[in-house]
């Protein structure tokens, strides 16, 4: 499960062979709280760009920028890509406007610094933090 327990909110975990893949998996876990990702059509996209040297803060910024831009454009996102070179991060999320038949989960307020970690594991990378819902 890409989640861990928290009293009021939700802890998300993203795992991947690379740092970028772990961040993408984290984004999928977050957006799965909003609606089911299956069935979201990649009709529109939002771009995320930022500079951040600290990998942990980069994970939080990545999630929060995706949430902010998705909300700004009234989109629900289901597919993500991310690349980075040093401090420069550049990614994209694809999705579509809300449709009536989509399952309504919860409105995710944002990623927090609580239980925040980005670490190498035996199988690659793992990024985790508590999400305020």
């Amino acid at each position: 499960m890409p989640y861990f327990e928290h009293d009021a909110d939700v802890g998300v975990v993203g795992r991947g062979a690379s740092l970028e893949q772990a961040f993408v998996a984290g984004a999928e876990a977050v957006f799965s709280l909003i609606t089911r990702l299956e069935g979201i059509r990649p009709l529109e996209s939002v771009e995320v760009q930022f500079e951040e040297a600290d990998a942990e803060l980069a994970f939080v910024t990545w999630i929060n920028q995706l949430l902010g831009h998705a909300h700004e454009n009234g989109l629900v996102l289901g597919k993500f890509e991310l690349e980075h070179e040093g401090e420069r991060w550049r990614g994209r999320g694809w999705g579509e406007p809300w449709r009536d038949e989509m399952e309504r989960g919860v409105d995710v307020k944002g990623a927090t610094l609580t239980m925040l970690s980005v670490a190498q594991t035996d199988g690659g990378w793992e990024a985790r933090c508590v999400i305020d819902v």
Binding site: L67, H71, R104, V106, A111, L116
Partner: protein, 477 residues
Amino acid sequence: MDLTRISALDGWSWTVPRAAGESRHEVKLYGSRELLETMDDKVLEQITNVARLPGLVGAAMTMPDAHWGYGFPIGGVAAFDAQRGGIVSAGGVGFDISCGIRCLRTDLTLPDIMPRLEPLADNLYRDIPAGVGEGGHIRLDVPELDRVLAGGAAWALEQGYGEAADLEYVEENGRARGAVPAKVSALAKKRQLGEMGTLGSGNHYLEVQWVERILDAEAARAFGLFEGQIVVSIHCGSRGLGHQIGTEYLVSLAKAAGRLGIALPDRELACAPIDSDEGQAYLGAMNAATNCALANRQILAQLTRRVFAHHFPGHGLETLFDVSHNTCKTEWHLVEGRRRLLHVHRKGATRAFGPGHPDLPQRYREAGQPVIIGGSMGTGSYILAGTAESEARAFSSASHGAGRAMSRHAALKRWQGRALLKDLETRGVLVRTRSMRGAAEEAPGAYKDVERVAEATERAGLARRVALLRPKVCIKG
């Protein structure tokens, strides 16, 4: 919570003994043994870390409904003095800045509304935008949104949402001082352009309730409450704008803390000195978000009035009170015999001014401030009144809700949304929601018993119980 780590001060307040050589302020936990036993040990860890922050005045405290949060625990109260290097923390306010409850009273009684309960629920559900992905009926441009951020509930009133008398019964008369819309990012503003007058999701709700029991006749009279009466409570906050400000400043304050040499016991306590550029920028943005929340609840109150006017012509809805519970307010407090201007963080805690406080409307000056403890879906809520002793005990603060007792994930495994709503309906509570998943996460059993929380709040001297409310209709996001 491991109770061997804390010591009882009396039956309703507790402290955490300092280890040898440990340098920090006092920690005070309010609540019964039973409530504290159900709290996660993380509550203790988080509030003890708050007690290590610079410029703290008095104790770092938790209210009886406390639970594990981010940065501060939910139900955390801490006051800081700018003159002594005190800090402001985004995690001490929360992402849903100025989330709170607007309570409206009617002159209707339960028998008056029962014949029209179903259509009332359906119309509220139709006319109150609620739930993830639901935009509002109002569309603003950025210059107009800046006027919202500066004007608060008064802006909404100017647009025809509400009655002039409302503002007297909203904290700070509906407009937070110190709002600086220029400190709110372009993205935060864009997120809010279509969100004014929306309820949101999660634990936000609009409930039609009835007064089951009056517990303090004198205060109830001052609050205009009587048994059998219908009231409406609206719980929501600053929506996407507040969330964006919270997330952006959490990271910028975390960086500022390092740059300014603040030794944080945990990074999640991201903060900056109140008098620093970073601290002032956050406060300016936070107060702007507060005005957004106050305007939002003002609009929702008026949308509710329109629905009631359709079903019950001639019966108005008056604002009983509007109180926020995710705030950092600049307030005067008496500390060791001296008045000091403090920045009081209340994260998931309600301001609870006692009788005679000059900021209270004349009508409530003798009774004390109305304090609203919102219960879990379908159970009950309490209206309390601020006490004089709460000033010394908790900088005039009290509980804000039932407080979660179970994680959302655990609740999802235990309850099924549709069955839960059916069960509530058989118990006479009509719930309208677009999210069955959300309903399961908000199951009444996932929260602490609101009666125990309200009792502990009174026994701890934080506020006294005035009325018990029971829901009849619940609109959930």
